[in-house]
Symmetry: C2
Subunit: 199 residues, 2 copies
């Protein structure tokens, strides 16, 4: 509650649900938007509505885009025979910003978790196995976060791919213990990719 008009309270309440914003910063953000209602608030509302209407998950890799196949899966240039497995789209963006990888991705959308009942199906692991044959994949790079759940998931995938003959590697040097890809600088990610080792 801000003692603002009902419409503004509803907006603040929704903004406060975004990661990184609490009630106070949501109030500040909404007041800022109100001050800039023609130059920022109206265009932002429109951009948000557009994205909500057009965005979808890539049927092949789980990346987000505006058509059934994402830009990376649609590009023949990215058919290098390498697939980089990441936990989420933020990690894919971090890899792309680093500019060190030219193959395709497979976005798990999380990690295996007995507690949260997240199994291989939820993480598109069966689809990854299908892709290895379909896309003539020679190497799968496991670029999962250096957390317990990330590494458990990496081991599970490595086992699931045994017998496919594909080379399985993981990011190596430069990823700190407990580190999350999206927090690392581009150089660190590039170095870790170059120094990748067999898993």
């Amino acid at each position: 509650m801000s003692d603002a008009p009902r419409e503004i309270d509803a907006l603040i309440e929704m903004m406060a649900r975004l990661p990184g914003l609490g009630p106070r910063s949501a109030r500040r953000a909404v007041l800022y938007l109100i001050q800039k209602r023609s130059v920022l608030m109206a265009p932002l509302a429109q951009a948000m509505a557009d994205v909500a209407r057009t965005v979808r998950e890539c049927a092949n890799c789980g990346n987000i885009g505006t058509s059934d196949l994402c830009a990376i899966c649609s590009s023949e240039k990215r058919a290098t025979g390498e697939i980089c497995v990441v936990e989420d789209v933020a990690d894919l963006w971090a890899m792309e910003r680093a500019g060190a990888f030219r193959g395709r991705y497979h976005v798990l959308g999380g990690t295996l978790s007995a507690l949260d009942a997240v199994g291989p199906e939820e993480l598109r692991i069966p689809r990854l196995i299908v892709r290895i044959a379909e896309e003539n994949v020679t190497e799968v790079i496991l670029a999962l976060n250096a957390t317990v759940d990330g590494q458990t998931t990496a081991h599970y995938i490595a086992e699931a791919l045994e017998g496919t003959g594909v080379r399985i590697t993981s990011l190596a040097q430069g990823v700190p213990i407990g580190g999350e890809l999206d927090y690392l600088d581009d150089g660190t990610i590039g170095a870790a990719l170059k120094a990748r080792k067999s898993f």
Copy 2:
């Protein structure tokens, strides 16, 4: 740049302009919204568009609302003869949350600043003087931030109101040096109001 589709990049760029959000937290927020695109993103876009279309400043006090006079200026119950002068709407909301003041407000929209060429006209000070007669005001409470600019502005207003016969007070005990109202807890604000002293 996030290497996301153009529409998503545009959205991230706008979100990153909100106070308290940088490029990284804007990316996180947008990915969260995309995950919740039907339950949160579409309704948030709608709420934002509604507020951008309907919100306006109260012609009397500078508070925000959805009609020419805000809810507080429209309420006869709030015509107590007391006007609380605040710097911005966030401070008005903080006062209302504290629940200790039942009169009306005057929202300056900033503080006097020679550097930024903010003069009395920009801060609705002439309008405040008009209101003192129109609304039978007996007391003006200067609830400005305990900053140099806030206190300079308070002194200017006190001088401008000399000769009107109105009692001029300011928040006292409990507002820490350099403190901003919107950061204080409700109890502190309430205590400061109760212990207000002649200015």
